[in-house]
């Protein structure tokens, strides 16, 4: 019996591991094996290759020539990449705060309801719909002669906006679609988070005389903040990867490249123009932006995020 042995030799580690333990170690590698193999081959290897290709010039067939930082300096001076970065950051900084803010408000509102299944289904329906279909449906909504433009024109007495033809509006349209399609996921997560707050904490605050509003702002929202924080990290990372929506909603990166995103740029360089080196350099730039924003978020969390252990 493996358990009996260490007990006999007390605190000292047994000189020889039991056979079971040794076999067990090997089982560890067997269990991790398939994912380890897949991760090495399909994630780590391509990732390393991307790092290499970013510093090289290669046509995909012949010799690979080192060019140092040439791809990066060329890319960072490329008007198209700069525009892609700006567009992507606008999408991220517009959709994440508004999207998460709306989701918190809706989750708080839904928690008060007794029956909310219908609402949950409505909010979540876009999440189970593919981004391609979402973008095609919204393309109809955004037509210059479509319902949305006509409604706005009638209400505000202005010319019907040409959402997908006007550079500024096209980017706004992408933001609207992004918020609409991801709202339900965050609502569900926040709602579950609110419901997981221990009622004893709420009860204690109520006994101390906290009203509904005070309860919300001083207890429930702070206790929800770790979940909101995690969702914001995920939402930032995924909005920095925006591709499907712009690919389908507005063809060719929109009027005057108004909706060109970094991933669209990577795709366009790599698979449209077969410029492997510059495309890889743009990938590395995307990675750096992602890491910087995530690092900033983790730095800021100390200020805004409250963990239940501290509060208790």
């Amino acid at each position: 019996m493996p358990q009996a042995q260490p007990a006999a030799s007390a605190p000292r580690r047994p000189r020889k591991e039991s056979a079971w333990r040794r076999r067990d170690r090997r089982w560890g590698y067997v269990f991790v094996g398939p994912q380890l193999l897949g991760m090495s081959l399909f994630v780590v290897l391509p990732f390393a290759a991307s790092m290499v290709l970013a510093f090289a010039s290669w046509d995909g067939l012949g010799e690979l020539t080192w060019v140092g930082f040439e791809n990066f300096s060329a890319q960072l001076q490329d008007e198209l990449l700069l525009r892609s970065i700006v567009n992507t950051l606008i999408i991220a900084f517009v959709t994440v705060p508004i999207g998460l803010g709306l989701a918190v408000v809706i989750a708080v509102a839904l928690e008060k309801l007794k029956t909310r299944t219908l609402y949950l289904v409505l909010f979540f329906a876009p999440v189970v719909t593919s981004t391609v279909a979402v973008a095609m449906i919204w393309q109809q909504m955004f037509r210059a002669d479509g319902v949305l433009s006509t409604a706005i024109s009638n209400i505000f007495g202005i010319a019907p906006p040409d959402w997908l033809g006007d550079p500024k509006l096209a980017l706004l349209a992408v933001c609207i679609v992004t918020i609409w399609s991801s709202l339900g996921l965050n609502v569900i997560i926040f709602l579950a988070g609110l419901q997981n707050i221990s009622p004893s904490v709420i009860e204690a605050a109520r006994i101390d005389g906290a009203g509904a509003w005070r309860l919300l702002t001083s207890i429930r929202l702070p206790l929800l903040s770790p979940i909101v924080f995690f969702s914001s990290v995920v939402a930032f990372i995924s909005s920095l990867q925006t591709f499907d929506t712009v690919y389908v909603l507005v063809s060719n990166a929109g009027p005057d490249n108004a909706t060109r995103t970094i991933v669209y740029h990577i795709y366009d360089l790599g698979f449209g123009k077969f410029e492997i080196g510059p495309s890889s350099a743009a990938s590395v730039i995307l990675l750096v932006i992602t890491l910087v924003i995530t690092a900033i978020q983790f730095g800021a969390q100390k200020k805004f995020v409250h963990y239940e252990d501290d509060a208790a």
């Binding site: 979540f124 876009p126 391609v132 002669d145 709202l183 569900i188 509904a212 995690f230 990867q241």
Partner: protein, 315 residues
């Protein structure tokens, strides 16, 4: 918080197997709701709340309704009066034409079997790895797990070009293998999630089997896996949604229309017919979305709870 049995988002309590959250349940019942306190202001607030939620709900559902209405309109009506609410006359022609123009049936078969294989494969490989990281002590396990966590930070698109080159080398371009094999073998989030689910199981479950001299595989297969069912259900829904809706990688990896997945076929359909007849395009969109929406409505309880569990679990 118990991951394997989180309190369900639709307001009900998880089945009685739940031990960790059950103790907090009684506080729920005597929470007064705003509407019941009887004060006029509160009641007004509750009404405002409902109105706001209904407006938001309509904003969520309207694009789908508009898609359906448009898909039943004839081309002459769309050209003459693009804003008419109801089709006049109702026509099913768009559906017939869209279905016959491109292989939608084939795309559904492709999407379903790719998703099924990736889901089943991921359930096995991710729960194996998650179990090992949670319970087995082996050299390098901590470092490996941190590497697994770190790879989640890498945007998948960063690896797009080398991945494509690798697939060319393997001869998997324009083959479903390029989606299936990497899909089921490389999913760090799934591993992380399954590790969390395993950690939430009581250790005593396995200890009895270890004392009985059972090997790791038997413990995993006949003791751990059966207890992981809620986690496996959650993971399969998450993975299925992910695979079903994937676009960028299928877009670069598949060329033959017969191999296309549903989103890919829909996108290529738009490329061909998008500018001509948008009733047709909306019919194609409906063909690609309605079956998924029906599945979702039927399984909404389970799907919503799984998504909530994964959102909280990734913390």
């Amino acid at each position: 918080m118990s991951l394997a049995n989180p309190r369900l988002v639709d307001g009900t309590q998880a089945p009685p197997t739940d031990s960790t959250v059950a103790l907090s349940a009684p506080g729920f019942e005597h929470r007064p709701t705003g509407a019941r306190t009887g004060k006029g202001g509160r009641r007004l607030g509750a009404t405002a709340l409902h109105v706001a939620l209904i407006v938001a709900g309509l904003a969520m559902v309207f694009p789908f309704v508009w898609m359906l209405l448009t898909s039943f309109k004839s081309l002459p009506q769309l050209l003459q009066d693009p804003l008419a609410f109801l089709p006049q006359p109702w026509t099913f022609d768009n559906y017939v034409e869209a279905w016959n123009a491109v292989p939608f049936g084939q795309a559904y078969v492709n999407s379903i079997y790719i998703a099924a294989l990736v889901v089943v494969g991921t359930l096995l490989t991710a729960s194996m790895a998650g179990y090992a990281f949670a319970r087995i002590r082996f050299r390098g396990s901590r470092v490996l797990f941190i590497v697994f966590l770190a790879t989640q930070m890498i945007p998948k698109q960063v690896t797009l070009i080398p991945f494509y080159i690798l697939m060319t080398q393997l001869g998997w371009v324009d083959s479903h293998l390029a989606l299936i094999v990497p899909g089921l073998l490389a999913n760090p989030f799934a591993v992380f999630l399954m590790r969390q689910f395993v950690l939430s199981l009581p250790k005593e479950l396995e200890e009895a089997a270890i004392v009985d001299g059972a090997g790791r595989w038997r413990i995993f297969w006949s003791v751990v896996l059966p207890n992981l069912k809620p986690g496996l259900a959650a993971l399969s829904i998450i993975v299925a949604l992910d695979v079903w809706n994937a676009f960028l990688f299928p877009l670069v990896l598949l060329n033959s229309p017969d191999l296309f997945t549903v989103p890919l076929l829909l996108s290529s359909f738009q490329g061909q017919f998008g500018s001509v007849n948008y009733g047709l395009v909306m019919a194609a969109s409906a063909i690609s979305t309605i079956p998924m929406l029906i599945v979702f409505v039927i399984g909404q309880r389970r799907i919503l709870n799984s998504m909530a569990a994964s959102g909280l679990g990734g913390r």
